[in-house]
Point group: C2
Chain length 438, copies 2
């Protein structure tokens, strides 16, 4: 089965379909509902036993226009994108000198006197070796930090490992206690340009014009498909990805790939008449990008069935291949994890420890006690295109996504067939606490 | 000297200065004259013996706005750029189905009945191994070819070897006998998307909105600097690049690099008090991109001194390194070419034959009989960023541009020191004719 799955092109085909027939699918846009319709139809076409959707609600953020340029010392147009949930700049834009900070932490350490009346420029480069979360903190929290010190706007170096003129968007949050200022990202080459200008010692003055809107409420859906189990169909293994994408690209690696990998895995099992004891459920979540909203809605609707979620694992870090399998299960189930890891060795997957996060939308289920798995993917090029216009289907390599699909098929099959309970519930939560205390 | 030049960073610094302090410099824009002022000041600062400028005139083409989207079967926004000299689409844009052709040749072979009322889509992919000129012919001549068959507009796959959402612009020409229709390029991933849609067999309908203007005349300048020769100062070796760039990037590889390499080479000789017998003249040409206009103006102003141009070689294919030296000289001078090639071997430069083109702006001088050299550069990544927003300074690798500068310094020095005449004039023209006939 493992070898069979490795030569199966279904995930690649599913992703081709999503990126071609739907494309960009910003949560709250008209494409959001086109994506939902696509997902429902695709799940039915793939022959899953049961397909349904569950409502998810959120406010609608819209990107209207964005422009940035250097006014002095040397006029340049910059490649810029508003961050998700950013407010607009005032009518007429913001024209101000920039103040350079190396990171969010550096901004926190900077005197308000230096920041007041300026545009803060967070110049925190994401390297292949640095932690995404640490750098992305500047994107999500920088605006309020800057606004509390009197800044007029925030511009960040794109949180991306590439060197292309394509800025990386991503969501940001406003603190309640800070004025709301516009926040945008410029491409890495443009950030390099600002750094070169600043080295000359003269003030660098920008003109930033961002127009966005946040108004109205939207109802979208988590789209769910299930392969029913033969013996304990109400217990299920939960896999999936998020269906929404940012608007700049067509969401191929983020997270069309995760949707296609997990749907492809389920369909592979169905096609080969591999019907496990427990059910396998694929959830394609609504609106992950703007705050894990689909994930929270799924938890809210299913909070009473945590003990039935035998194993949860989301695919949301690109096309793969899967490099490591980690678990978060009760000790009695580790023998089954060991068996999975042994089978996955044949796909080049290493064994990780018993400490795993199941992915963004499933994080809240883990907090509630769901046994979790992490199929960690190779991600050295993921942040090259992540949240940019360049996140398109041509970046997908069939050999990589096939391996990921095979790994998910093996994982889902073995988890759903396992005679052992992975221990979702209080015992698992207590066990984690003991581990942390120990 | 060769080894000294290899560790000299001056070209890199010159290019940093141009791309930072001037940036994008579309011919006919206000940045055009800022570039001229930069070049004059830089040449003086670098200590060339004589610096002057010569007027060059051309019409002003302006890019105003550009938008393209797929209307059906699946709505998508496309990354598009107007081609240089394109007219606007009619008010309200063009909404029409596309007709796919594989190349300009394929368009020529296509029945007018298939093209009439459509948007022609030339889907000619530039591969690392294919000839740029052949693919670029679709860009320069496609619109008139399509218009004669009744097309409403032309969209081409970007003439570029990359796979990024950054379209490649470039100049196009209208034939006198054809209606003028708008012409634009979409990025390679967007062209892939259209191809995937077309494979489904349904019509693919685009909405194309291009606004441009061509009005008024502009006076810019070829900026010229000279190291005066010690013995025959009126004879000169001619090197240089073109100062203008497209507007999307900051013209780092095209052709800031050529300007910096040749200026750096001249400055290296001056700084090391290497004063050759003949003069070395660096010309930074105006408006190469829109039709070799600076090159033609230089020829017009200097047509009576062809025999004084001892050797001409333009750098206009990126940052290098230089891989081959070719010549186009009279047989009596081949011994000197051999000596050059021997010295350049130490820089990894191979010997080419006695058949060379001196580069776009100097082509007209070659036609007039100027002895020519070609320092052929490694160009495997040149067409990744060529004519895109991604043509920025971060793409420059110091070790590559240093080698190119060293190679130009060696070439210019040895050509200017040569006791032998390279034979510019009728003898050379006649010799070429004989070679061709033979």
């Amino acid at each position: 089965m493992r070898e069979h799955a490795l030569s199966d092109n279904r995930s690649y085909e599913i992703l081709e379909s999503l990126t071609t027939e739907v494309g960009a699918r910003l949560a709250g846009s008209e494409a959001d509902l086109r994506a939902v319709a696509w997902a429902e139809a695709k799940m039915r076409a793939l022959g899953l036993d049961k397909v349904w959707k569950e409502p998810v609600q959120y406010p609608v953020w819209q990107r209207l226009s964005e422009q940035a340029s250097v006014i002095s010392p040397y006029p340049h147009r910059l490649q810029v994108t508003a961050l998700g949930h950013s407010v607009s700049t005032p009518a007429g834009g913001v024209q101000a000198d920039i103040v350079h900070v190396a990171s969010l932490q550096d901004l926190k350490n900077t005197d308000a006197a230096k920041v007041r009346g300026k545009i803060v420029f967070i110049d925190h480069k994401l390297k292949k070796s640095t932690d995404y979360g640490e750098v992305a903190a500047g994107r999500s929290r920088g605006a309020s930090e800057a606004a509390r010190k009197g800044a007029l706007a925030l511009v960040i170096r794109s949180v991306g490992t590439d060197s292309h003129r394509l800025p990386h968007t991503g969501v940001m949050h406003y603190d309640e206690d800070a004025p709301r200022i516009a926040a945008a990202a410029i491409s890495n080459p443009d950030a390099d340009l600002l750094v070169r200008m600043l080295k000359r010692g003269e003030p660098v003055r920008l003109d930033l014009r961002i127009q966005t809107a946040m108004e109205g409420n939207f109802t979208s859906y988590n789209v769910i498909g299930e392969l029913r189990g033969s013996e304990q169909p109400d217990d299920y293994v939960l896999i999936g990805g998020h269906l929404d994408s940012w608007d700049l690209g067509t969401g191929a690696v983020d997270d069309g790939a995760g949707c296609a990998i997990t749907l492809g895995a389920a369909e592979f099992l169905r096609r080969h008449q591999l019907r496990p004891r427990r059910s396998i459920r694929v959830v394609l979540y609504a609106n992950e990008e703007q705050g894990l909203i689909g994930g929270r809605a799924y938890h809210a609707a299913h909070r009473h069935e945590i003990s039935r979620i035998q194993a949860a694992s989301e695919a949301d870090s690109g096309q793969g291949p899967v490099k490591t399998l980690r678990s978060d299960v009760v000790p009695a189930a580790l023998v089954v994890v060991g068996q999975m890891q042994q089978v996955l060795t044949g796909l080049g997957v290493s064994a990780g420890g018993n400490q795993a996060h199941p992915g963004p939308d499933m994080g809240v289920l883990r907090e509630a006690g769901a046994a979790s798995f992490s199929l960690d993917m190779q991600a050295d090029d993921y942040f090259d295109v992540h949240h940019t216009a360049d996140d398109t289907f041509d970046k997908i390599e069939p050999v990589r996504i096939r391996q990921s699909c095979a790994a998910f098929a093996v994982f889902a099959w073995m988890a759903a067939q396992s005679p052992v309970d992975f221990g979702s519930g209080d015992e698992l939560i207590q066990g984690r606490k003991n581990r942390t205390a120990g």
